[in-house]
């Protein structure tokens, strides 16, 4: 697998660290309650198609990337800087 990092270009996936579902960026508010946190931490969509996920370019620019990947074919469909998503929300 190769990942097209917006800052570094197309690089071998070995340079990246996989963190997991992109949903981890949607942290509930501190007072959202135990159920919301249980859901956030433990429950997973786990689709057999396009998965939104966080990869860290550990051996490159060290940016967090928000990636859409087809987990049945391992094809990368889109790569964005996670930061740009957070900025867009502010």
């Amino acid at each position: 697998m190769r990942i097209d990092c917006p800052l570094c270009g197309c690089r071998d996936s070995r340079e990246f660290h996989y963190r997991g579902t992109g949903k981890l960026m949607e942290r509930p508010a501190a007072d959202a309650g135990a159920e919301a946190f249980h859901d956030y931490i433990y429950m997973r969509e786990n689709p057999a198609g396009v998965n939104c996920e966080l990869w860290f370019h550990e051996m490159g620019c060290r940016a967090w990337l928000l990636v859409e990947r087809d987990v049945s074919s391992h094809e990368f469909l889109s790569v964005r800087l996670a930061e740009s998503v957070t900025r867009g929300k502010q």
């Binding site: 996936s13 070995r14 579902t21 249980h38 931490i41 969509e45 786990n46 990947r69």
Partner: protein, 416 residues
């Protein structure tokens, strides 16, 4: 037919014409008391024990492909009972005891080979941990021997004892651990279930569940609707998707694990060797191939094939531990999809739907679990109560804080 030395002899004299198909290939009936979804190790053993221990005869196992074509036929066949945490330890201990009597139980040769499994230690801290683990195993009646550096060197002289990146300090030997023939386990349970009247229905994918008033009524399949009093789900890597059809969301991710085998060699590695520090384990099959593997590829996957970085990593770890294997030629590699739970331990429980039971989250450990999983899941389905050996594998343990996290990695399924 009951298999025996006499049958082998008799068939040898009569041109081997007496062997019959091992199970029937029935058409699905319109209704069953219990429907098991998934014809892997867990589904087949569950059906077997439902029929045998609980006297339920009207059972079907629905398998979307062919029996034993899933992970039960893709794993590296290691059987052991050296788990540490309450909840896991008694379950795997129960499973190993069932393994030890399985061939007699099933009248089928599952080729259980208790050749011993050794966990290698590479630091004082790891030796302390293994001393504790070994004591806990012995306290519950299983076996463990703590070996020092010299003992490991004497018994496993082929390891790299002198120039290793992670020098070997010792190890924990578990003599009753070993390997079994994976296909034979599936076939043995399938045959046993069929002989007790269970319908094993292949090429029958479950595509939906009918639920009325919070009660399961039946399953939609590619071979039509089948009514069911109770339904048990044993679909391994597909648990999230099949669960979703029943409206369940599960604390599970699907990941790919690879395995590798070399050409057949003369007897070389008598035990199962686990090199946790390097993410590598190895044994030698009865045919002579070196069977080995490592950790998950590390990212979510349903692809049933892994990537080269992990193949390279596993090969490097193998070379670091036993440089001699560098001369062996690797014949094949393959991958299987594992249902990784959030604490690395399985889920065997009822659900919010009456009559709908789940058995999933097997991670790396699902092959050694096959006998006990079937036993306890059948018990749960038949009686509605958890079996004493499996009363902590609860679906709500993540909400109640009762996780069984053997590696202490938390909710990072790719690291368990």
């Amino acid at each position: 037919m009951r298999y025996s030395a006499w049958e082998v002899f008799r068939n040898g004299l009569t041109g081997n014409k007496g062997w019959k198909p091992v199970w029937r290939n029935p058409e699905p009936k319109s209704s069953y008391d219990v429907v098991i979804v998934g014809g892997g190790g867990h589904g087949l053993s569950t059906a077997y024990y439902l029929a045998k221990n609980h006297g339920i005869a009207n059972i079907a196992v629905l398998e979307k492909g062919y029996l034993g074509g899933g992970n039960v036929g893709r794993n590296t066949t290691i059987v052991r009972a050296n788990y540490m945490l309450e909840g896991n330890s008694q379950f795997y201990s129960h499973s190993l005891k069932l393994w030890e009597n399985l061939e007699r139980e099933l009248n089928y040769n599952v080729m259980l080979s208790q050749r011993g499994q050794i966990l290698l230690a590479h630091s004082d801290g790891q030796m302390d941990r293994f001393a504790r683990l070994g004591n806990m195993m012995r306290m519950q009646g299983d076996d463990a021997e703590l070996w020092g550096r010299d003992e490991v060197r004497a018994k496993l002289p082929y390891l790299n004892h002198d120039t290793a990146r992670f020098p070997i300090y010792g190890g924990l030997m578990h003599w009753r651990g070993g390997t079994a023939r994976h296909d034979a386990v599936a076939w043995g349970y399938a045959r046993g279930a069929d002989r007790r009247g269970v319908d094993l229905i292949q090429n029958c994918q479950v595509t939906g569940f009918r639920i009325e008033g919070g009660q399961i009524r039946g399953v939609d399949t590619t071979r039509g609707y089948i009514a069911a009093g109770k339904v048990g789900m044993c679909v391994a890597g597909r648990s999230s998707q099949v669960g979703e059809m029943a409206g369940l969301r599960l604390p599970i991710e699907s990941h790919v694990l690879q395995a590798f085998v070399t050409e057949g060699l003369k007897p070389l590695i008598p035990h199962v060797v686990s090199f946790g520090m390097g993410h590598f384990y190895i044994s030698q099959s009865d045919k002579g191939g070196l069977v080995f593997g490592g950790d998950l590829d590390g990212y979510n996957s349903y692809a049933q094939r892994g990537n080269l970085p992990m193949a390279e990593h596993v090969a490097e770890a193998g070379m670091a531990l036993m440089p001699m294997i560098g001369k062996a030629r690797m014949l094949r590699s393959w991958g299987g999809i594992m249902d990784m739970s959030m604490d690395g331990s399985p889920i065997i429980d009822k659900t919010s739907i009456d009559g709908f039971f789940i058995n999933c989250g097997w991670c790396y450990g699902g092959f050694k679990a096959v006998p006990a999983s079937g036993d306890v899941f059948a018990h749960l389905i038949a009686t509605g109560n958890h079996h004493a050996a499996a009363n902590r594998f609860l679906l709500d343990r993540f909400a109640t804080g009762r996780m069984i996290d053997e590696t202490g990695n938390g909710a990072t399924p790719n690291l368990h």
